[in-house]
């Protein structure tokens, strides 16, 4: 696909049109919000634009860009919280009703996923959404294979533990 994209077309423009949706899916799973996903993708691509030669030279350009996106996500969330918060939907209020029990497992895990630390969340997304091997996840996160396995293991353990807590505790505990 990449060879075709490079055939006579401005690579950046074509790449953006082809891969933005895919990158948005990854970014959405990482950030959990549409606004956050769009910001992350836009920031990543615009930042890469001045050095697009590096992307073109990569064996798998989309992997290179995804790696940058994950790096941007991890680094971005390390910084102090943003002052401007914009919601595309109103946050739900906990009103004491038994809403949690209406969630199926997928919704519950989605909620719990967002409680994981950023690097754990990124590792889990890259493994269980993109099915990347440890080596590629390590390259994306800038860490060793052993660290990747540890991140995923701890992430799964946390999800499992919190899911158990949520099943046995009051509704509010699921969102703590």
């Amino acid at each position: 696909v990449w060879e075709l994209l490079m055939d006579g077309d401005p690579s950046f423009t074509v790449f953006v049109r082809v891969y933005t949706s895919a990158l948005l899916r990854t970014a959405y799973l990482l950030t959990g919000t549409a606004v956050g996903a769009e910001d992350l993708v836009q920031d990543t691509l615009v930042r890469l634009y001045p050095k697009w030669d590096n992307v073109e030279a990569a064996d798998v350009p989309i992997a290179y860009v995804r790696r940058s996106l994950v790096n941007a996500f991890v680094n971005q969330t390390r910084r102090p919280a943003s002052r401007d918060l914009v919601f595309d939907v109103l946050p739900e209020r906990a009103d004491g009703r038994d809403v949690v029990t209406q969630l199926d497992d997928r919704d519950q895990i989605w909620t719990l996923l967002r409680t994981l630390p950023e690097r754990q969340r990124a590792a889990v997304v890259l493994r269980f959404f993109h099915d990347l091997p440890d080596e590629e996840i390590g390259a994306a996160l800038g860490c060793r294979v052993g660290t990747v396995r540890s991140l995923i293991s701890r992430g799964l353990a946390a999800l499992r533990g919190r899911a158990t807590d949520a099943d046995s505790g009051p509704a509010a505990r699921r969102y703590a």
Binding site: V46, P80, V86, R106, F128
Partner: protein, 463 residues
Amino acid sequence: MSDIETALRASLAEHARHAPAGATLAEQIIAETQHTTPVEPRRGRQWRTWTLPLIAAGSVVAVVAALAGLGAVHHGAGPQPAAPAPSATPAPSAPSAASAASAPSTGAPQPSSGSTAITSTGLGLTHFQVIDMTFVGAQNGWALGTADCLDGSGKPCAAMVRTTDGGATWRSMRQPAGAGVPLLTCTDACIRSIRFATTTIGYAFGDSALFMTNDGGATWTRQPGGADALETLNGNVIRLVSDHSGCPGPCNLQVKLAPVGSSTWTAVTLPGGVIDTGLATLTRSGSAATIETSAGQAGSMHSVWLYTSADDGKSWTKRPDPCTTAGAAAVGAPQASQSITSGADGSISLLCGGVNGAKGVTVTSTDAGATFRAGTPFQFGCCAVIGAASASVLVVISDQSERSADGGHTWRPIGDTALRAGNLTFIGFESTQVGRVATDAGRTILTTHDAGRTWSAFTFPGS
């Protein structure tokens, strides 16, 4: 495969379908990169972080003066249609409404006659000078300023640039079509400030014009009226509007609120009825907002009032000028508000100037303006303006710039000689650590990442 892994895969696959569609964003990204011209920094220094502007401030008088002093020449930077171009801004500390006469000068470009629409040459901007800046997040920033017209005439044109890498590189960007940026005089569509709420939603405004973009500046839509000041935080926008006919300053000052990106504004009543003021300054930090007005002649210390809000502008409390109360009590001599700012911690700080050569003093509130605590009287230099990283860390920039780490009780000189109010166009702290000063008439941006102890310089090409 465990149950949790199976459920996790299913959950991720399911929720990935809820990700936003990419077509519109892709075109925005392409437009942003393809329709702009890179502006490389002259020096090799890199911005390390740009964080959100925490300080919301009103218009800097020097900015107005700079724009007013520029010729009516439009700058169409980058590969964009020849069109008048305004510029944008961050959140500076603002000279007090009462101290307009002593506001820092800007060394503005000389006026030029006529109006020239410039088409893109593909060259980078030269001699860019910052008038105002705004940042959303650590990487995305926009600056309003002037630069050499692209026709090679050497005349100054209004220009808008943006960075997506924390300020390491800047690109010229599209400005509101039809919104000439009057450089010699502020006419109907004069734009002198810029604010962005998100990477896509932004506002460019002046007293009589307000433009909004919902696509990162690719297109701008003019809104009714103008804005004396506008600040966006917490998903909403506070806008000060007034009419400018029949009195020297903003007449019938009103506060309007809108959700970010909305063109529907709701008026909020300020206590005290109709407010005719010489100048109005708006600052925000968190949910706290402060309006400072000068209801009489500039410099008159009894004419200043503060309106404070702790709920993002929904309700306001009118308060007397703390310089005439806490400030004067500390100095033992009359004081007049000279500059106001908000700290990243929500504090409000004012620089009070002594009358007839008396010492000045800083006053700071940590309870949304209910009470103010004065520092130790100090002989500040000429034309001082204040920036606040927090209630404790204050920076006063004048011809002898000083820093206090104890709320204004002790002051130590800042070594960087570039930090002089005479050439300053902007000062603002984005967090308790990161602050920025546009100095040398906006040619150089000084940034601190250690609450004002040390500063690093970035100079635009051609300066």
